[in-house]
Amino acid sequence: MTPLVPLVAAIPLLAATLVAFTGKWIPAVAADVAGFAAAGVPAVLAAIVLGRTGGHILSYWFGGWRPRAGSFPVGIGWAVDSLGASFALFVLVLLLAALVYSWRYMEDERYLYVVLMLAFGAAMASFVLSGDIFNMFVFFELMSVSAFALTAYKIEEASPLQGSFNFAVANTIGAFLVLLGIALLYGRTGALNLAEIGRRLTFDGRHDGVVVAAFALITCGFLVKAAIVPFHFWLADAHAVAPAPVCVLFSGVMVELGIFAVARIFWTVFAGVLGAFEHPIRDVLLGVGAVTAILGALMCGLQRHVKRLLAYSTIAHAGCFLIGVALLTPDALAGAAVYVLAHGLAKSALFLVGGVLLVTRGNIDELQLFGLGRRLRPAAVAWFVAALALASPPFLGTFTAHALIDDAASVEGYWWVPLVVAIATIGSTAAILRAGLRIFLGVGDREDPLLSEQPSESPPPEEHRELGVMYAVTLLLAFAGLAAGAWTGLAAKAMEAAQTFTDQLAYLHAVLDHRAPAPPPPGEWRTTTASFVWAVVTLVGSIALGFASTVRDRLPRSVSDGLARAFMPLRAVHSGHIGDYVAWLTFGTAVIGGLFAVTIR
């Protein structure tokens, strides 16, 4: 089965090259069909590979450079565990969904769009399967550059250029931080293979400045991609201007990939050498995760541009993903993994509804669209179903994810984690609900003193409308997101996968010594009363706050003015100026790195 592994990335990359060269001459339909095939076939392969992993770690060495057991790995290897394979599968499924949706959505020169999407998807799938840190960096950059280009796809408008420029500069600086960290690790260990670096660091046992600096640089670099405060500014700009089907990949998997990278690098490279410092590492990462979750939810409540609103909601949820990883326990990590799935499906559906609004109503502004969505019934259904999935109602949507994270946090003694997750969920879901109520049902006021205006986006031309396909994809994703929480077997499977993922020795033996790891204990998950209560709280809270925020215009003048003034500094910080973003990035790296330097000694 291992020979299938590289095909998962090779097929879309080869197809992208072929379409890029022939696109000018072949009909647009051929480029589309090539796109579907080049996303669909690898998705099937990824599913087969996932079926074969089940507790194992499959290694694939490029060019046959498989090292003898215990010797130094010279070649470049991929190491596929269940979590990595699931992530790759999810990337490819969302890629396929986005391509099918954009069948009639994108305008002329569509083959270039297909090329960029395939390269983007292939790079993300490769990134999660790779077992070599420099290989990861290269795919990270491939993924970034295609994402920058996709953001600026509507190059005839001004704001996509700004969004893409900010996105490109911030993420490139983030990638440099990662590269500096990789250089330090190579200087210390002479290796680029994750398992080999991990083995050398663990046996060396020194946790001096070089190791701590490498850890801080790599973590901060990947957190830029994950849009964690104060590295998050680029995300809202990029999501607001990128085409809706591109946002599906941005919000559904790309941001999550930053979190995945932090987890992957920690558990394969640093878990041994920094094992004694789990507490300070956990506290720092939990802290930034909590700030991200709450800030994202707050900003979400201030947006009227629908895609920008959804972007801030993604930031709020990214904070929760980081909390799941930062607890540094397998069960919490399993929670984060299930969370990524449920959130990715639901959020994709929401972005696609945004695309439908743009196509049918030529607008993406909540207040200008007031009541105009009344006749778009399928869009309304998808919107509210997806919002419900994100509200974490009992036994649906993100419920299992929240329950796993909350329970793991309680075991570790972090009583405030469920509270933060609930606040982030209520804040962001209420904003989504508010927008839906205004647009699709015409509920509430036509004015809102707290929302900030954004430049509008031009709709795709009339003749490209094919609403049936767009609705089908959107509804499918929305209901899948809701169902993700109802599938209890998923939580158990994720717990097993997370056991393997967090076992550094098992990874090391599997990759370097070709020894299959012991199968993880079967995962078992039960709903606790606490998680049920929290689910009811988030559901009721989201609905109540959602309805309440549609009538903010009825607040007394003094109160609404006071609120607007209170949010003024927060708004001002999100200035749209790349210089400010990089200043924040530098500041954040200094603070997080400084905290690690002080606490790890």
Partner: protein
Amino acid sequence: MSVLPYLLAVWIFLVGLYGIVSSRNLIHIAVCVSVCQSGTYVLLLAIGYRKHGTAPVFGDIPTSRKVVDPVVQSLTLTDIVVAVAVSALLLALALKTFEHQGSLDPHEVAELKG
């Protein structure tokens, strides 16, 4: 070996960051990103340096000869290729922005905020 190359790498990186933060011109920002990246080249090459080592090309030298680390050099090359793609994209975006708005000042072209 001396600590100077490492300090130089950090210095170049920070100068690049300062340039981006204080810049009023998008093309200048794109160049500053390249400056930052140069810091990473210097660090990579410094890590591969061996005292009295020569270039790692074994065509005309005995294989017993001490050479600098070829791995970091190939990493640097890869890094340069990445830089070309990013610079090209940033400059294209800057150019298009000027065509649309007649300005390269990030303060003036900022439409998305809040």
